[in-house]
């Protein structure tokens, strides 16, 4: 029997950090704020490491019930935490990468107003994310789910004096809410059918009833997918992620690359037993994932803001993870989540370092030639670019190839189709990532002489490397981007696929496992590497060898280029179709008609009528005794009438 792991401490320590920094941070010296924030994130990480050290003595799955939450009628929900292999991976990612980003932020945000506020929000985010990951039931997970949405809103709108930032925050929150609505409906359906929201109980019941297929389980799965598309920025609810780049870069790294957006993938993996029973939902998931991957990659081809490119890249890579889950290769999806956390966080932090060194410049068209000036940033970002493109032996290669392989060998035609889409998108990914690489670091510097400063920093002239507090995490993440994939080297290439076996107790899909052959796997890997190479070559051609080529191409396919540049006008479409009608409805019908008319009017009518009746009745109080007597007399007569004739009593004696 395992002794208590005290899982409840893991989320609670960052929450304490949030309270300290949030309530007192304004008055505390900066070093103290930083220390509190770092300690609040380090302790959970050390606790997770401690669990890892004692891993062999644990019996999994392990659950810990901290207290009863809701008992209403037949429904029961507890503050319960669960721990298994999947949780361990997620915990390592969240606490590990989270801690590195906390280190980085101390350097990046050093000159910001509201430094304490930033770290308070960051700790709050850690608290909610850890709650989400550790939750043993849907309800507690939903608390974390909503909470990370809240933290995301607070952090995106961190520069709240900037109109665009405030709007982006609201957009993120509202779009997330739509997804959360799906999650809620799924929970209601689960309560209706299983009477409980506990993972353990639901999954046991599902496992014991193999005849439960489709039907309401499909509905549950589809609603969960809706929730996941909101949180993990898939079609149709991805629109908030690019705008979320208004927040500070460490926020983009932590929340919108490594952790919050992966919550959807984690949720699908956690509830995979339900998805396994609904082939329709799985197919939907795969199609959404593949479509999003392709869609976002095409938009990323032509964006000029370095963070935007990375944002669309995130959406695209999340599409891969959903694709993996859609073909029931859940462990592959989680594997890619793991490697993606490393290289995407690194990419964002590196981009932050670039922006920091250029005193706030984010447009790639005025970058260039930074290779020699900020070498450490350059080399770490190169590691990340190689990883994301899926070049062996870097991390992304193993995880992405695993996904593509699983897609190819999955039964049914959908697998092949999504494999092809994924392959093509890999090529596109290589293209736009190397485009970013070349534009930022190579060639002549295109920066103007005077650098404007919209980042609030006071810097001396010239481009300079970032401080070591920012570079340290970059180096660590770079190392992880190189070796991180080596836990999942498939047998075809001589490895032991440790991560798949590790996660198997949790993520093994019910039903037939797809079987391919080693040679198939090697062949597919070769094909994808070839695709990536083509992408790299094209990027090299257009942005290094012949820099005038992009403009010529853009002129030739003017329409297509404009379509991509304006992100397929999706935001405008949503605005016209959904946002504007709702605003009009709200403003004129609900506010004008109902609020002002009915409610306020009703209140006024009540008030005036009370006044009117009052002034009428007031006349009885004349002060004249005789009038009082008159009213008395008539009242007595009325009472008498009522007594004798009214109540049906006829005096008889």
């Amino acid at each position: 029997m395992t002794s208590s792991l005290h899982l409840w401490l893991i989320p609670l320590v960052p929450f304490a950090g949030f309270l300290v920094n949030g309530l007192l941070g304004r008055r505390l010296p900066k070093w103290l704020v930083t220390t509190v924030a770092w300690v609040a994130t380090l302790i959970p990480f050390l606790q997770v490491l401690n669990i890892v050290l004692h891993y062999s003595s644990l019996t999994l799955p392990y659950t810990e019930n901290v207290g009863t939450w809701i008992t209403a009628g037949g429904f029961h929900a507890d503050f319960a935490f669960a721990f298994d292999q999947l949780t361990l991976i997620m915990l390592l990612v969240v606490t590990g990468v989270g801690f590195l980003i906390h280190l980085y932020s101390a350097g990046y945000m050093a000159h910001e107003e509201g430094y304490w506020r930033f770290f308070a929000y960051l700790n709050l985010f850690m608290f909610f994310m850890l709650t989400l990951v550790l939750a043993e039931n849907f309800l507690l997970m939903f608390v974390g789910w909503e909470g990370v949405g809240l933290a995301s809103y607070l952090l995106i709108g961190f520069y709240f004096t900037r109109d665009s930032a405030a709007k982006a925050g609201i957009k993120a929150f509202v779009v997330n809410r739509i997804g959360d609505f799906g999650f809620l409906l799924a929970m209601f359906l689960l309560i209706a059918h299983f009477g409980t929201l506990s993972f353990g109980q639901i999954f046991t019941q599902v496992a014991q009833h193999p005849e439960l297929q489709g039907g309401f389980l499909t509905a549950v799965a589809l609603f969960l997918i809706l929730g996941a598309t909101g949180k993990s920025a898939q079609i149709p609810l991805y629109v908030w992620l690019p705008d979320a780049m208004e927040g500070p870069t460490p926020v983009s790294a932590l929340i919108h690359a490594a952790t919050m957006v992966t919550a959807g993938v984690y949720m699908v993996a956690r509830t995979h037993l339900i998805f396994d029973r609904s082939p329709f939902a799985l197919t939907t998931l795969a199609i959404i994932g593949a479509a999003t991957a392709l869609f976002a990659a095409t938009i990323g081809l032509v964006q000029t803001d370095i963070k935007r490119v990375l944002a669309y890249s995130t959406v695209s890579q999340l599409g891969y993870m959903f694709l993996a889950c859609g073909v029931a290769a859940y462990s592959s999806g989680i594997f890619h989540l793991l490697t993606h956390a490393f290289f995407k966080a690194l990419l964002f932090l590196g981009a932050g370092s670039v922006i920091h060194s250029l005193s706030g410049e984010q447009d790639m068209r005025v970058m260039g030639g930074l290779r020699k000036k900020i070498p450490i940033t350059f080399w770490t970002m190169t590691m990340a670019v190689l990883a994301i493109c899926g070049i062996p032996p870097f991390a992304g290669f193993f995880s992405k190839d695993e996904i593509l392989y699983q897609a190819f060998v999955s039964p049914g035609p959908v697998g092949k189709i999504v494999w092809f889409v994924g392959l093509f998108t890999a090529g596109l990914t290589a293209f736009y990532m190397f485009r970013l690489w070349y534009l930022t670091f190579f060639g002549e510097s295109r920066a103007p002489e005077t650098t404007h400063d919209d980042h609030g920093h006071e810097h001396a002239h010239g481009v300079h490397e970032s401080p070591w507090i920012m570079l340290g995490p970059l180096v660590i993440l770079a190392i992880l981007s190189v070796i991180g994939g080596w836990v999942g080297v498939p047998e075809a290439m001589g490895g032991h696929a440790e991560i798949t076996h590790f996660l198997a107790p949790v993520t093994q899909p019910v039903g037939e496992a797809a079987e391919g052959s080693n040679s198939q796997e090697l062949l597919l890997a070769a094909v994808s590497v070839a695709c990536v190479a083509i992408g790299w070559f094209l990027a090299h051609l257009m942005y290094f060898a012949k820099p005038e080529l992009p403009a010529q191409l853009a002129a030739k396919v003017r329409g297509l280029y404009t379509l991509l540049l304006h992100k397929y006008w999706v935001d405008e479409l949503y605005g016209a179709l959904i946002v504007t009608p709702i605003l009009l409805l709200s403003r004129y019908v609900l506010k004008g008609l109902l609020d002002t008319g009915v409610i306020t009017g009703g209140g006024l009518v009540l008030g005036y009528s009370a006044q009117g009746i009052g002034s009428l009745v007031q006349r009885i109080q004349s002060g004249n005794i005789r009038s009082y007597a008159g009213w008395l007399a008539i009242g007595a007569a009325a009472l008498l009438l009522l007594t004798y004739f009214g109540f049906g009593t006829h005096l008889s004696f």
């Binding site: 009885i620 004349s622 004249n624 005789r626 007597a629 008539i634 007595a636």
Partner: protein
């Protein structure tokens, strides 16, 4: 015989009451009221309430009405002025009073047979009977009533005192 007595003294009551209504000077009204009280005393006698008849004469006409008369003389109340302070009194008051009379008369006459009739000497309550009930079963209310009178005396004295 009994009926005749009833009619005479009943008529006296009504006449006195009407006179109270119609006279303009309050002293006339007071004297009419004394007539009413005394006739009522006779009616009590007819109904066999001898103690009450005596008490009516002694207390009501002998003390209360005398008090009224004293006050009228003290305040030198003159004839009534003709002011019309309230419309409500006429508009709702008189119909109210008329309605009261009408309803009550109707009810009583309707139930005439149920109510039975009174014979002279049919039920005689002696002072002995009255005091037996009063001082045995209702001793506490009796004592409390004396406290009430004490309070009334104090109140009257306090209210009517000359301000210094």
């Amino acid at each position: 015989m009994y009926l005749v007595l009833f009619l005479i003294f009943g008529g006296l009551c009504v006449a006195g009451a009407l006179n109270l209504l119609l006279q303009r000077h309050p002293i006339n009204s007071a004297l009419s009221l004394i007539v009413v009280m005394t006739s009522l005393a006779v009616l009590y006698l007819l109904l066999g309430a001898e103690f009450l008849a005596a008490a009516q004469v002694i207390v009501y006409s002998g003390a209360i009405m005398v008090l009224f008369t004293f006050v009228i003389m003290l305040l030198n109340a003159g004839e009534e002025e003709r002011t019309h302070g309230s419309k409500a009194a006429y508009i709702v008051g008189f119909p109210g009073a008329a309605a009261l009379l009408g309803i009550l008369a109707y009810i009583f006459l309707k139930q005439r047979d149920h109510l039975g009739s009174a014979k002279l000497g049919g039920y005689l309550v002696t002072t002995h009977d009255l005091s037996a009930v009063l001082f045995r079963d209702l001793l506490l209310p009796f004592e409390v009533t004396s406290v009430l009178i004490l309070v009334a005396i104090l109140g009257a004295v306090a209210l009517a005192r000359k301000e210094r």
